[in-house]
């Protein structure tokens, strides 16, 4: 049971190599912060960068959809 849990946990994580000097630099950088490991810091930074990249995706409204929505907003007094 414990082994199965460990396997499940391990399957959710993988290893990425970074240069040792960078690892040491990060280790120093996170001293006294809320980060408990180099891994947690790297995960945080990567998530932040990836989120910035995907933040400007366009919505896929059709023209008809949009007109219908605007009509409802006007009828409820939200738009003039």
């Amino acid at each position: 049971m414990i082994r199965k849990k460990e396997e499940e946990r391990d399957s959710k994580f993988t290893t990425v190599s970074i240069p040792t000097p960078l690892f040491e630099k990060i280790k120093k950088r996170i001293e006294g912060t809320g980060f408990t490991s180099v891994s947690s810091y790297v995960v945080y930074v990567l998530r932040e960068i990836l989120a910035e990249e995907s933040a400007s995706q366009d919505e896929a409204f059709t023209r008809e959809d949009e007109e219908r929505v605007k009509e409802r907003l006007r009828s409820l007094g939200y738009l003039d």
């Binding site: 959710k12 809320g34 945080y44 930074v45 998530r47 932040e48 990836l50 989120a51 995907s54 933040a55 400007s56 995706q57 366009d58 919505e59 896929a60 409204f61 959809d65 949009e66 929505v69 605007k70 409802r72 907003l73 409820l76 007094g77 939200y78 738009l79």
Partner: protein, 380 residues
Amino acid sequence: MPAPHGGRLVDRVVPEAEREERLEEARSLKALRITPDQAREVENIAHGIYSPLEGFLRREEYESVVEYMRLPGDVAWTLPIVLDVEVGTDVREGRTVALWEDDEAPLAVMEVEEIFPLDRRRHSREVYGTEDESHPGVAKTMAMGGLLLGGRVELLREPESPFHAYRLHPKETRVLFRERGWRQVVAFQTRNVPHLGHEYVQKTALTFADGLFINPVIGRKKRGDFTDQAILATYQALIDHYYLKERSVMVVLQYEMRYAGPREAVHHAIMRKNFGCTHFIVGRDHAGVGNFYHPFAAHRIFQEFPDLGIVPVFFNTFSYCRRCGGVVNEKVCPHGPEDKVEFSGTRLREMVLAGEKPPPEIIRPEVAEVLLSLDKPFVE
């Protein structure tokens, strides 16, 4: 405007043109009775408020959310959105069922992709951080059925709502914000009538944004809480007298509070991101109850989500200062407690019950008048 959470605004509402036919089909499916709270969950999924969810969580999603506060694709998601049924319910994996809230017509259909057991104690521990049944979320979990159904839903019809004029879905608010030219929109969640402190927080945040999205939570409440009607009527009075119409909008959210503290604060932010907001006001002990969470736990948890896509705006404590002559917070006022009037919900409630008009240091006179004119401002 932020992209919807997970990148795409979910729309699981059956198109008008297909509605009658799909409703007819659904009447012949295995029927599953759902509660009003579950029905609101279905609506929130279908209208994209819970984007990227397209249905109730399947097992892998549930496990990932409970354990890591993320969906399997690494998208932040802190509250498990689940549909429970009693053990022994006649439902099988691979079947489509009709979800009925009332006897009028089916509300939705659901593809039951997975059925899996609910470990109530673990669920309570992970989601609420406690197994103490005096916590309302834990009490509710302990009363849940022993099986969870996972799978996509489709909404077949829009139930009547007394708050029709205040109900907008993310698809609509996103168009509204764009049409009004709002690039930065700050969201404020509320379950109370507005006092001067709320107004101060909202206007402080609005000063640095283009628009204010006031989003009262409507739904089942505890005895003694302000009624939904009281909240809406008083907010409307505040907006009419003290807000710029072109800078604020009030829309209701039909949603059941879990009181899950920090986890729920993140969930609240995600919902507002889906409405198109860029900022979300997080108060002291946001979504907390009793003394179950540290007053700032709901602030700290946001540090774990650099990829949330909506900016939390934290407010701590604020009060009215007689010497400053206005609402202040601990960062801007040097005066002591003898000069302060605290915004106490309990005190306000007592005054209203006694038919006494609360002073203008606590609540705007126009708001107080509306409040005192209501027959039943509290849930009985």
